[in-house]
Symmetry: C2
Subunit: 109 residues, 2 copies
């Protein structure tokens, strides 16, 4: 019941649209981190970070593990796949378009 690769493009892209959350993801890509560790670089209250983590978790990008009073968050590696694939697909088409632009009629900007 791993809820693997559900078509949650909305959630994934929405999550990634916030710089704080992208930064958290970047931190987590170096390994699991406690909430304090994650919060440290930001000039922001702990509840704010907690909320971001909840959003990230709901979108399936991270998960957590409780150890004593600490809570370690870590990345769920395949969670971004659907979004990645969506963009890849577009990118292919767009590359073709780029050729059309160079040779073609649309020279706007």
């Amino acid at each position: 019941m791993v809820k693997c690769r559900k078509n949650n493009l909305n959630d994934v892209f929405s999550v990634l649209s916030d710089p704080t959350r992208r930064s958290i993801i970047e931190q987590l890509s170096k390994g699991e981190r406690s909430v304090q560790e994650l919060a440290q670089p930001f000039d922001m209250s702990l509840p704010a970070i907690s909320k971001h983590l909840k959003v990230l978790e709901k979108a399936g990008l991270v998960s957590q593990r409780k150890e004593g009073r600490y809570r370690y968050y870590f990345i769920k590696p395949d969670s971004m796949d659907s979004a990645c694939e969506w963009m890849e697909g577009l990118k292919q088409v767009w590359t073709k378009l780029e050729g059309m632009f160079s040779g073609g009629k649309n020279k706007s900007q």
Copy 2:
């Protein structure tokens, strides 16, 4: 002055988080379209579509060309690159992580 690849990750991801806008992008990847053509598949007012197009344009993903009373929108092919690259970078790291998970300590879920 092409405003090429400014670090507008926020805007790009934000734009992509809306299914209507993703759908518009998918349509446009088949070629330029007028506003009516773009609006046709949606059960939504024209102003709503117009707004979405504006958002897409502001984020730099599309541009338009006026022809008579029609307005043709088209994709700006390299506009998604920064976002694409960001995800690619993550994906590489995550793939490594996946290996760590299989062999490793985090078996959560």
